[in-house]
């Protein structure tokens, strides 16, 4: 309890000093004539201050749970091992360990690769083997979320332990965690992710001890512990409830949009109907009024099922006048048009393509073609969700990282989550820079997709604390822009003497240093005993990646462009013996520019072109700090893992059972 008090004192101190510093910067020290660098700099500083506030909120009430109670009596559990293309031996090793879990359970391998050799291996081990049902053929597959959603309807355990293919569970994993479900409102218990193939110096920053520690404990304090996709136990009923709620929402939204579009198409068809005789006029008119009634009924809150049933019946009647041969021709014509309602390949979000809709309604469609296209439009989004493999998708498919979106929806439904701080499964981290970068990019993109699609700050059902906890993680992925400014500002000063502030004088130093120090001490105290430096380095050194994640996620959500999604390989990529210049050139360029700037700055001071020793001194130190941060990427680029298992793994497995207090 003493530590929590110290943390709170430091949080207050940091925020008071930070607010007064940033306030002083905005009101008294922005050099507006150099606004093009001065404004970005003060904005980057404000970004960092907001980050401090969010961090402060996170660590304000860290929840250090001890032991869980005894598991509920007769709890039935399915252990689900998800795999796509990982080596069969790796999955087999995980399945063996899963079989050895002590609490009664049924083990399943969820093979999205549908590989015969995987099936044989599962049969030999005596574990269940599941692949997608035929319903998924020609429909969006939704990656891992789809794999789990498929399995949810083929298994029946009360609880689900989810494991990635490389996550070897400890035999006691269920005994240690199931007890938290004695609270009927708990939907999720997340345990840490910890990697066995990482050396002590962890050059790729794979371990996330700050996250799987103070941050998760802090989020837990606000009932916002995150689901991280693996090493977690979920309550089936909670997931199923999400599935139903999501289904209802998507059906309502889809039907509303489709009815709106149908009315536009029919309005246009009505104009051209006269040329096609009185029968066509009658058919279009009847369907128009049916669409009108359906929209009204939906607004009145009548059940969607009835509204669409009535509308579909009306459409059936309207098109009964069609000769079958015409219908074939019309369908062929329609197939050539771009689909107006489509499903995002990767995320499964329903896309109503306004452009295609306009195209559809602007084409001189014959009345019969219009009726048929309206029927097809409605069918795609109707209560049977013909556009999806299964009507219910309990695991959220809104983002490439299904975990965060699913968890947020659980919290919005009023469920509770638990972070159990004990390593109960160990996995394999990426062993080369390229793979690691792919993985980070995917996480960042997924998180930002959730931010853009389901902004936590405005989600109904979340408490203020939960909103902030989700937003804090998303906010941290915007750091790339700030990092660029933090590198550019000293360069412009040292090389060209451009001042973004009124002066880098004593006033500046006296206000900045206490804030900086308080912040560092807060980090040291919160992260006492765990290595936080790597994470701090990567949060800035991967600036090109974070910026790319922001750009691609925004293009995906607003421009419907693909993300370029890749499954993270669990095995090492081959052919990386050379220095991967392609991956780190932005950082390399930044280092060259920063170094040149230091030299230029010193020369300018020596020749008298620059006059402020403090100014040059502050900026040289600043650049040195930037270089120290970025250097991690070169260490990572040069890193070559040993081909054999590290000796360290013995030590690590020995203390892996320990709860970090």
């Amino acid at each position: 309890m003493g530590k929590q008090l110290l943390v709170r004192v430091l949080v207050v101190l940091t925020l008071v000093l930070g607010t007064s510093y940033v306030g002083w910067r905005w009101f008294f020290s922005v050099r507006w004539e150099n606004w093009w660098i001065a404004v970005p700099l003060v904005m980057a500083e404000t970004y960092a201050l907001v980050d401090s506030y969010l961090f402060g909120a996170t660590v304000w009430r860290m929840k250090r749970r001890g032991e869980a109670p005894e598991p509920p009596e007769d709890a039935t559990v399915d252990v689900l091992i998800t795999t796509y293309n990982e080596p069969v031996e790796m999955v087999v090793a995980t399945a063996r360990a899963a079989l050895d879990i002590r609490h009664p359970h049924q083990t399943w391998i969820l093979d999205d690769g549908d590989r015969p050799e995987m099936r044989q291996a599962a049969d030999r081990l005596g574990v269940g083997y599941l692949t997608r049902t035929e319903d998924w053929a020609d429909r969006p597959r939704h990656a891992k979320a789809g794999n789990l959603n498929n399995a949810l309807f083929l298994t029946e355990g009360e609880f689900l332990l989810i494991l990635d293919a490389d996550q070897i569970p400890a035999p006691e994993i269920l005994d240690r965690t199931l007890g938290w479900f004695r609270d009927p409102e708990v939907a999720l218990v997340q345990t840490p992710q910890w990697f066995s193939n990482v050396t002590d110096s962890d050059p790729l920053g794979s371990q996330a001890p700050l996250f799987y520690g103070p941050i998760q404990q802090g989020k837990d304090g606000w009932n916002a512990a995150f689901f991280c996709g693996s090493n977690a136990v979920l309550r089936r009923d909670a997931l199923m409830q999400l599935g139903i709620v999501g289904y209802v929402r998507e059906v309502e939204d889809g039907v509303r949009d489709a009815l709106g579009a149908s009315r536009r198409i029919l309005a246009r068809a009505a104009r051209s109907a006269r040329q096609h005789g009185p029968a066509a006029v009658a058919a279009v008119t009847e369907l128009r009024s049916a669409a009108q009634q359906a929209s009204v009924a939906l607004r009145r809150g009548e059940p969607v099922g009835e509204v669409t049933y009535a509308f579909q019946s009306a459409a059936d009647r309207a098109s009964r006048s069609l000769v079958q041969s015409d219908l074939e021709q019309i369908r062929a014509d329609l197939a050539e048009l771009p689909p107006a309602i489509d499903v995002d390949e990767q995320t499964g979000a329903l896309l109503v393509d306004d452009e295609a809709l306009t195209l559809l309604s602007e084409r001189e469609l014959s009345p019969l073609a219009a009726i048929e296209s309206v029927r097809q439009l409605l069918r795609a989004v109707d209560v049977d969700r013909a556009d999806e493999a299964q009507p219910m998708m309990p695991m959220a498919t809104v983002s490439v990282t299904e975990d965060m979106a699913t968890c947020m929806r659980l919290h919005a439904q009023g469920w509770r989550s638990v972070y159990h701080h004990e390593i109960l499964a160990t996995g394999l981290a990426p062993e080369d820079l390229g793979t690691m970068l792919q993985q980070r990019l995917r996480w960042a993109q997924g998180t930002l997709q959730v931010l853009l699609r389901e902004n936590p700050l405005v989600q109904k059902g979340l408490s203020a604390g939960q909103r902030l906890m989700y937003f804090a993680t998303m906010w941290s992925y915007l750091s790339g822009f700030a990092a660029v400014v933090f590198m550019a500002a000293p360069v412009f000063y040292l090389v060209f003497g451009v001042l973004p502030v009124h002066a880098y004088g004593l006033d500046f130093v006296m206000r900045f240093i206490p804030y900086f120090l308080a912040n560092q001490i807060l980090f040291m105290v919160v992260g006492y005993g765990v290595k936080t430096w790597r994470g701090h380095q990567y949060s800035l050194a991967l600036f090109p990646l974070w910026i790319r994640a922001c750009a691609t996620a925004a293009a995906n959500v607003f421009g419907k462009r693909p993300l370029g999604f890749v499954v993270t390989p669990k095995t090492r990529q081959q052919g990386l013996s050379r220095f991967p210049l392609r991956l780190v050139w932005p950082q390399l360029l930044a280092c060259v520019v920063l170094t040149v700037a230091v030299v230029a700055g010193l020369v300018r001071l020596w020749t008298g072109a620059a006059t402020s020793e403090i100014g040059t001194g502050v900026n040289v130190l600043w650049v040195a700090y930037d270089l120290l941060i970025i250097s991690v990427i070169f260490e990572a680029a040069l890193y070559r893992p040993a081909d054999t298992v590290d000796d360290d793994t013995h030590d690590s497995s020995a203390n892996s059972k320990e709860q970090i207090a």
Binding site: M240, I244, V248, Q390, P391
Partner: protein, 111 residues
């Protein structure tokens, strides 16, 4: 073991829900609904008069049945819903899609 009864009459069928429609009974109900549709009766009323408990898995089976029935040109409707079941329907807002009818006759009136 089976507490799920089916009465078919041409294209129409009445399926009686089990007393506890939970994650154990859900797969069975799903199967019965699929069979009923497959045997040519896609207009189904699920009579929940004897069902005192339903969980989300049970609702999942009903949604699955609705999909199967609709795709065969039929429909699935609920009848005689108890208070507990109504609470779960409201909690998940499934009543926004599936209107519960007071009796089996009410549910199948328009067919």
């Amino acid at each position: 073991m089976s507490t799920i009864e089916v009465r078919t009459e041409g294209r129409q069928a009445v399926v009686t829900g089990p007393p506890r429609l939970n994650m154990t009974a859900a797969p069975q109900l799903r199967e019965v609904l699929a069979q009923t549709v497959a045997h040519g009766s896609p207009q189904i009323v699920v009579d929940l008069g004897g069902t005192t408990f339903v969980d989300s898995s049970g609702l999942g089976a009903l949604v699955g049945g609705l999909k199967t029935a609709r795709q065969a040109g039929g429909d699935l409707r609920l009848a005689a819903v108890s208070d507990q079941v109504m609470t779960v329907l409201t909690l998940t807002s499934l009543h926004r899609v599936l209107r519960p009818f007071p009796t089996v006759e009410d549910a199948s009136r328009e067919w």
